[in-house]
C-alpha cells in the first residue's frame, strides 16, 4: 500500500515555500505532511496532501516543476523505540530508505513515518511480517 507524494522543485531563496503553500491553500488542498530538503542553491519540497493530482495541476499551472512519487506511510506508536523498530526491520531486509520524514497524528495518538524506499514490495512484506501497519491515502486523510 503506497501513498502519493507531491514533490516540487524550488530555488533556495526567500518566498518559495510561501508561494507553494499559498497556491495549495487557495485551491483548498490540505497538507498532511511536509519536508524541505535543500542542496546549495536549490531544493525539493515534498508534500503529502489530500488531493495530490490536483495539487500537481495547480502548481504546474503556476509554473512549478512537480513530480508525483510513491512513498510509504508507516504507522508508528508515539513512544520511544518505534522508529528504531521500523528502521531496523527495513535495514535488516536490505531495504534502503532514500529519505523520510515523520509527523504525529494527535487524533490517534500515533505517529506516521513517510518514507521513500528503493524496494516498495520488499518493504511492505517486511513491515507486514513485523506487524507494522501501512496507512492508505484515505486513512491519512482521517488523521
Amino acid at each position: 500500500m503506497v501513498v502519493e507524494q507531491v514533490s516540487v522543485f524550488v530555488e533556495n531563496k526567500p518566498g518559495r515555500l510561501s508561494k507553494v503553500t499559498r497556491i495549495l491553500g487557495e485551491a483548498g488542498i490540505n497538507i498532511r505532511a511536509l519536508s524541505i530538503a535543500e542542496l546549495g542553491e536549490f531544493g525539493v519540497i515534498r508534500l503529502v496532501v489530500d488531493r495530490p493530482h490536483e495539487a500537481k495541476a495547480v502548481l504546474s499551472n503556476s509554473g512549478f516543476t512537480v513530480g508525483i512519487n510513491r512513498v510509504l506511510a508507516i504507522e508508528m506508536g508515539d513512544e520511544p523505540g518505534s522508529l528504531a523498530r521500523i528502521a531496523s526491520a527495513l535495514g535488516d531486509a536490505g531495504v534502503n530508505i532514500d529519505y523520510a520524514y515523520a509527523f504525529i497524528a494527535r487524533a490517534r495518538e500515533k505517529a506516521v513515518l513517510i518514507a521513500r524506499v528503493d524496494d516498495v514490495k520488499r518493504a511492505e512484506e517486511v513491515l507486514s511480517s513485523e506487524g507494522i501497519r501501512l496507512l492508505s491515502a484515505e486513512e491519512l486523510e482521517d488523521l
Binding site: L39, G43, V44, T65, G67
Partner: protein, 435 residues
C-alpha cells in the same frame, strides 16, 4: 628593433612587398588547396586576376566554419609529412578547428613573436615568465618560441597547469622581469600575491607585461600596472592565423603594429562585407603572406577594430589596429578561452528535457565566471536531491570537457529565464564596464 629594416620600411615599399607576396600566396592556394580552387572557380576568378592590392576585394572571404567543414586536415596546403605541429581551437559547434604548421611556419612564427616582444621592449637580458596555457591553445608555445628566438630566458610557467602559488613563487624567487598572460590572470596573480603578504613593487622584479587573448581596457591597464608595478602591452593574435603575435603594442602604445610583411589587414563592414578605409570601425580580415601549411585568404576574424596607417612615433611603419573593440559574432572570451553559445547549446541538447530553457551568464569577479542556468523541467526532475545534483554535475562536466573552461551550472525554476517575444535572452554578459 629586432628587424630594423623590415620594421621601418616605407609604407609604399611595404605595400609593394605585400602585392608581390599576395600574388604568390594566391597562386599557392589555388594550386595546393582544393577548397580555394573551388572557391575561385565559383567566383569565376583566376590567380592572374589579382594584379593590385585592391583586387584582394575580389577574393571571397574565408570563415571559421570553412575550417570546421574541412576538419581536420582538409584545408592544408602541404602534405601531412611536412607538418610538424598542430594547434586546435573550439569551433562554433561540437567540431573544433585545426591549424597545421610546417617547420618553416614554426620558425617564421618565432621570428614574428620575437619581433613583437622586442617591440614591447623585451630584450635578451629579460627573464620571461610565460603564464599563457601551453597545449592546443597557441598562447603558451607561441610566446615560448618567440622568447627563445629573441634570446630571453624563458620560463614555461604554463597558466592553468602551474598553480598560482607556484607562479607567485617563480615571480619572486626567479626575479622574472616580463610576465605574459591574460590580463585577468595578471590581476588575479596580483591579488593572490597580496594575500600571501607579498608586495609586487617590493618583492617582484617585473618590468614589462604582455597581455592578451581576451578584451581589456585602458582602465584595466592602469589597474594591472599599479598592481604589479610594470608597463603593460597589448598583444593580438588568432589561433587560425598562427596564434599570438599578429599585432603588438610598441612603447607609444597607440595601437598594435600588425606585421604587414606577413599579413594583409583589411577592415570590412561585417554586414555587407564592403571594404572600409583607415579610421573606419569594422571587422578585421587577415590574409597570410608567408605561411606554408595553412595559408588563409581574407580570413574573417570577427574582431571589431579600427586601422591606423599614420606613421608611429616609434619609427615603425607597419599599420596599427586599435585594441579590439568587440565582436561581430556572439563569441565570448572567458578566461582567454573562446566560447560560442552554440557549443553550450550543443551540450545541453544531449540532456533530456533541457531544450531551450537555459541561459548563459558571464560575469567577472577578478577572473571571468561562466554560469549556465538551466530550468528544471518535469523530464529532468527528481524528488531525490542526489539525482538532481548528479544531473547538475554531469552538465558541468560535459560543459567543461567541450568548452575547455569550467562553467557553473545552476538549476532554476521554470519561468526564471526571461523570455522576450521571439527569442529568449540566451546570453547575458555582465562584464561590460568591468573589463
Amino acid at each position: 628593433m629586432f628587424e630594423h629594416r623590415m620594421e621601418t620600411m616605407p609604407l609604399k615599399e611595404l605595400k609593394e612587398l605585400q602585392l608581390e607576396r599576395l600574388k604568390a600566396t594566391v597562386r599557392y592556394c589555388y594550386e595546393n588547396v582544393p577548397f580555394y580552387r573551388k572557391k575561385f572557380k565559383e567566383a569565376q576568378l583566376r590567380p592572374e586576376d589579382i594584379k593590385s592590392l585592391d583586387d584582394l576585394a575580389k577574393i571571397p572571404f574565408t570563415v571559421k566554419d570553412d575550417l570546421r567543414d574541412h576538419y581536420p586536415y582538409g584545408i592544408l596546403a602541404k602534405p601531412l609529412k611536412e607538418v610538424v605541429r598542430f594547434h586546435s581551437s573550439s569551433g562554433t559547434t561540437g567540431t573544433p578547428t585545426v591549424v597545421g604548421y610546417t617547420k618553416k611556419d614554426i620558425s617564421t612564427w618565432a621570428k614574428i613573436m620575437a619581433r613583437g616582444l622586442a617591440t614591447a621592449g623585451v630584450t635578451s637580458d629579460d627573464i620571461v615568465q610565460v603564464a599563457y596555457g601551453y597545449g592546443l591553445f597557441t598562447g603558451g608555445l607561441g610566446f615560448h618560441y618567440g622568447c627563445e628566438e629573441l634570446g630571453a630566458a624563458t620560463i614555461p610557467a604554463g597558466g592553468g597547469i602551474t598553480p598560482t602559488k607556484r607562479q607567485i613563487q617563480i615571480l619572486k624567487d626567479m626575479h622574472s622581469t616580463v610576465l605574459c598572460c591574460t590580463p585577468s590572470y595578471a590581476l588575479y596573480l596580483a591579488e593572490e600575491a597580496r594575500k600571501e603578504g607579498i608586495e609586487p613593487e617590493r618583492d617582484f622584479s617585473l618590468r614589462t607585461g604582455i597581455f592578451g587573448a581576451e578584451p581589456w581596457s585602458e582602465a584595466t591597464r592602469k589597474k594591472i600596472e599599479k598592481a604589479l608595478d610594470l608597463r603593460a602591452h597589448d598583444v593580438y593574435g588568432l589561433s587560425e592565423i598562427w596564434g599570438p603575435g599578429v599585432g603588438m603594442e610598441c612603447e607609444a602604445r597607440e595601437g598594435l603594429h600588425v606585421w604587414s610583411d606577413h599579413f594583409i589587414m583589411e577592415v570590412i563592414d561585417p554586414e555587407s562585407g564592403e571594404v572600409l578605409g583607415p579610421g573606419e570601425k569594422g571587422e578585421l580580415v587577415f590574409t597570410t603572406l608567408t605561411r606554408e601549411a595553412m595559408p588563409l585568404l581574407r580570413y574573417r576574424s570577427r574582431d571589431i577594430s579600427v586601422v591606423d596607417e599614420e606613421p608611429c612615433s616609434c619609427g615603425r611603419t607597419h599599420p596599427r589596429m586599435l585594441r579590439v573593440l568587440g565582436r561581430s559574432d556572439d563569441m565570448l572570451i572567458i578566461r582567454g578561452v573562446n566560447v560560442f553559445p552554440s557549443q553550450v547549446e550543443h551540450v545541453l541538447m544531449r540532456i533530456p528535457g533541457i531544450g531551450d530553457s537555459y541561459q548563459i551568464i558571464v560575469d567577472r569577479d577578478i577572473l571571468d565566471v561562466l554560469r549556465v542556468r538551466v530550468e528544471v523541467t518535469p523530464e529532468m526532475f527528481s524528488d531525490k536531491l542526489a539525482e538532481l545534483e548528479a544531473l547538475r554535475r554531469r552538465v558541468e562536466e560535459e560543459l567543461a570537457a567541450v568548452l575547455s573552461v569550467s562553467a557553473r551550472v545552476e538549476l532554476v525554476e521554470p519561468g526564471t529565464i526571461p523570455r522576450t517575444p521571439g527569442k529568449a535572452q540566451r546570453v547575458v554578459d555582465l562584464r561590460k564596464g568591468k573589463i
